[in-house]
Each structure stands twice: as C-alpha cells, then as structure tokens.
Amino acid sequence: MSKYVLIVDDDPDMVETVGMMLESKGYEVGKAYDGIEGEESIQKRRPDLLVLDVMMPRKNGYVLCAELKKNKKTKDIPVILLTAVGEAVPSTAYSHAEGMETEAEDYIAKPVDAQVLVDSIERLFV
C-alpha cells in the first residue's frame, strides 16, 4: 500500500508541482492550502509524512509543526519543512535554525528539487 504524504502550502502552483512529483514516485498525495486547513486534514486522515511550507497565512508552518510535535497523537508524523530561506540570510525570522527548533525531521530550501525531496522522504520512511 502506498504511503500517504500530505502537502501543506498556500501556493497552489507549488502544491500541484510537488504533488505531481510525488505521485509520479508512487506516493498517495493529499493537499491543503494553509496551516488551519492542514491541521483539519491531519485530523481527518493521519498522513504518513507531512511536507509543510513555512510561510503561510492563518497559521504558519513553524507553529503547526510545533503543535503537532507537542501532541502525542501526531508527534510521530515525520515533517519536512520547506523554507524560503537562503543560508545568506540567517537573520530572517524564518531561519534554518528556527526550523530545527521546531523538531521537524528535515528542512529543504525552495524551490524544491524533486530528487532531494524524494530522497528526504525515503530516508524518513526507512
């Protein structure tokens, strides 16, 4: 049975692009377009893995990730954070370091390379 990956990003073109990437690799893909919608989607169906954007309206990816990791029902869901952050801008509020503090299992800078994302997902599923 294929693994269920939920993508949460407020950029619809991004959700479709990453969704197609993952579907072509045999994953079942769910889609949500902001943090609140992502949260509702997780309550309806627990994903095997979450691909979570950081900068989103209503609830950003850091907040959602932190909440999931504090909840014993969801803390084991692996989370990959997609950040807009380049290493050259460490002072931004959306820094790599802050991503790590939220206990996400991995972070990847956007634009996401398909193989980098798939490698990360497969590493987390081992």
């Binding site: 407020d10 950029d11 619809p12 073109d13 991004m14 959700v15 479709e16 692009t17 889609k31 377009y33 902001d34 609140i36 919608e37 509702e40 900068m55 309206p57 209503r58 950003n60 807009a84 952050v85 380049g86 050259a88 801008v89 002072s91 931004t92 509020a93 959306y94 800078a109 956007k110 634009p111 996401v112 390379d113 193989q115 980098v116």
Partner: protein, 339 residues
C-alpha cells in the same frame, strides 16, 4: 446547479492596477517590467497581449500601490507610444484554485462575476489557479458570488471566510529578505504545444455568454492551459485571449457560434505555451523583468503573457519553445544546478 469544489481562494487586497494599450512598435511590456524591477516593485500580476488586431498591444499590471509605480512607468501613459491608459488605485486580486485546466472553473468564475454585476478588470491564469482583479468597491459582491458558485473547504460562506482571513504583510517582507538570487531558482520548465491563441473581443455585458461558452468547451473535453482577459476601467468591452487545442478548432468555432453568434474573433496558430514556476514569484520583484528580458535577448517574440500567483505562462510561436527555454536558462535554473 451544483457548486464546483475548489481547494481554496487566495486574496490580495489594497493593490493598484494599471492598464496600457500601446502602439505595437513600442515595447511597453519591456519598459514597464524594467522600470518596476529597477524600482524594486513587486509585480503581483501582469498580463500582456502583443496584438489586439487593431495594431495595439495591451499590458496590465497590478502592484502594491500606485505610488509604487516608478514615475517613468506612469509617464508612459502620457507618451505617444501609449494609446490609452486606465488606472485604479484600489483593487483586489482573487485567486481560485486548483482549476486543473478545466474551463468550467474559469467559466464559473466569469459567470459568478456576471451574476454579481461585477465587472472585472482582468482574468489571468496560472498552471493551477485563475486570478481575477476587481475594484475594491466590488470586492464584497465578487466574493459573495464566488461563495455562491464554488464550494470551498475551510469556509462555507463569505462572512465566515472574512472572519478568519488576514493578509500577512510581514510575511511578504520576509520573502523579500529571503531571496537574493543572481540566477533565479525554479521548479522547472514545462511546455504545451499544438495550440491556437484565440482572441475574442466582447461587449462587457456578454461576459456571461462567454462563461457559458467556456463551460461548454469543458463539457466537450477541452482543456484551458492559458487565459487572460483585459478590460480597462473606463471601457465597456473586454478582450479574452485563450490557448486551446488546435485539433479542436472546428468544435471551438461551432461552440462560439452557439453561444456568441456573429461575434468577431481572431486567432493565431500554431502556438506553444511555456510555463515556469518558482517560490514566491508573486511576492518578489524583478522576476517578470528577468523573464521578458531573457526572451527578448533570445529573439523570441512574446504573443501573450500571464504572470499570476507564482507562475509565468508565456504564449510563443509553435516552433520556438526549445529556443525560448534555452534563452530562459540564462536567468532561471532548477535548484539542483541543472541549467
């Protein structure tokens, strides 16, 4: 009629809109893009049509505020090059997604605006979303009509949506701090071939009939990979430009005659559409300029363009996609370093 189920709606409020129709020998698109990039003005939405069949090109742009347009951009409105200009300093952009290239989604958006007596300035497609620009004075009516026509997952009504919605300006500032690329990172290039570019001018009151025409195309199995429309604020007509499969030309003509009998149209083909998509393209300055400049440097004429949400869709001659992608690689690359 059952509502179409969508993934979501995204709104950007308090923006400005500028539409220029210009003589074709000028380069208003290049001039506008370069002056906006120099002024570090984010182009949230841009549409362009090279030829409206009466010797003019049409360029429309939506940005933060009228004051964010550099003076040279506004001055274009008063030059010999510019035939007509229209400005609204308070517009909203509403993006609906995903459309999955189904004409029914865009058709319903057009029909919703018509039912709400809202006259949009512009429609612009991206690979996943359709964006409509309306005057802020029409925003409530537009959104109520959208919630009447579409089923959205998070909120069942406009009032419910309004209660939870907030636009995060701080987020946009963070985006601008986060990217400083010489070569702009993208997810990749995609291309569709075997298309015609249809241009259908209409009196604005016939927009609902155009929506019905599109809806029928969807029922006939056609896809809509590209569409823009332009309607200057003071004009009472709208010009829809759309890319449709060339091998369905006969069906399209018949359907057009069914819903808009006797209406004029003109089309150009064969054409191809190139799509590129990158993170926060809609929130960063200089992206449209990089794209337009790269194609111009590569000698690729743009027939039509839509920069909306976080994608750029460009209509070019059918024979040009490989050359265009090669030209674009000078400014855009996928993240793994492939160029």
């Amino acid at each position: 009629m059952p509502k179409i189920r969508l993934g979501g709606v995204k709104v950007v409020e308090n923006r400005s809109y500028l539409c220029l129709s210009s003589r074709m020998e000028g380069d208003p698109l290049g001039q506008m893009c370069s002056s906006l990039a120099e002024g570090r003005v984010n182009v949230g939405l841009l549409t362009y049509l090279a030829d409206n069949a009466i010797g003019e090109s049409i360029t429309a742009v939506s940005a933060r505020s009228l004051f964010s347009f550099p003076g040279c951009t506004l001055e274009m409105a008063g030059t010999e090059m510019c035939e007509a200009a229209a400005i609204d300093n308070n517009v909203c952009r509403i993006s609906l997604f995903p459309h999955d290239e189904k004409p029914e989604v865009t058709a319903s958006a057009i029909s919703a605006m018509d039912a709400g007596a809202v006259k949009p300035y512009t429609f612009a497609s991206s690979p996943s979303a359709v964006t409509v620009v309306v005057s802020s004075s029409n925003f409530d009516g537009a959104m109520e009509s959208i919630f009447d026509s579409f089923a959205l997952p998070a909120c069942v009504s406009y009032s419910e949506w309004r209660a939870v919605y907030r636009m995060d300006e701080q987020q946009l500032k963070e985006v601008r701090f986060s990217y400083s690329e010489q070569i702009i990172g993208i997810y990749g290039f995609t291309c569709q071939t075997g298309l015609d570019l249809w241009n259908i001018p209409l009196p604005i009151e016939y927009a609902g009939c155009f929506g019905a025409f599109l809806s029928k195309l969807g029922k006939l199995g056609l896809k809509l990979p590209f569409m823009i429309s332009n309607s200057a604020p003071v004009k009472k007509s709208v010009l829809f430009s759309l890319a449709l499969k060339r091998d369905r030309c006969g069906t399209i003509k018949e359907t057009l005659d069914e819903f808009l009998p006797g209406n004029s149209f003109f089309f150009r083909g064969p054409v191809s559409v190139i799509f590129i998509h990158g993170p926060h393209f809609g929130d960063r300055y200089g992206i449209a300029d990089a794209f337009v400049t790269a194609l111009r440097n590569g000698g690729i004429p743009l027939l039509a363009l839509s920069c909306a949400v976080s994608s750029i869709s460009a209509v070019i001659d059918a024979e040009q996609p490989d050359k265009a992608i090669e030209a674009l690689k000078a400014r855009f690359q996928t993240r793994d370093g492939r160029r």
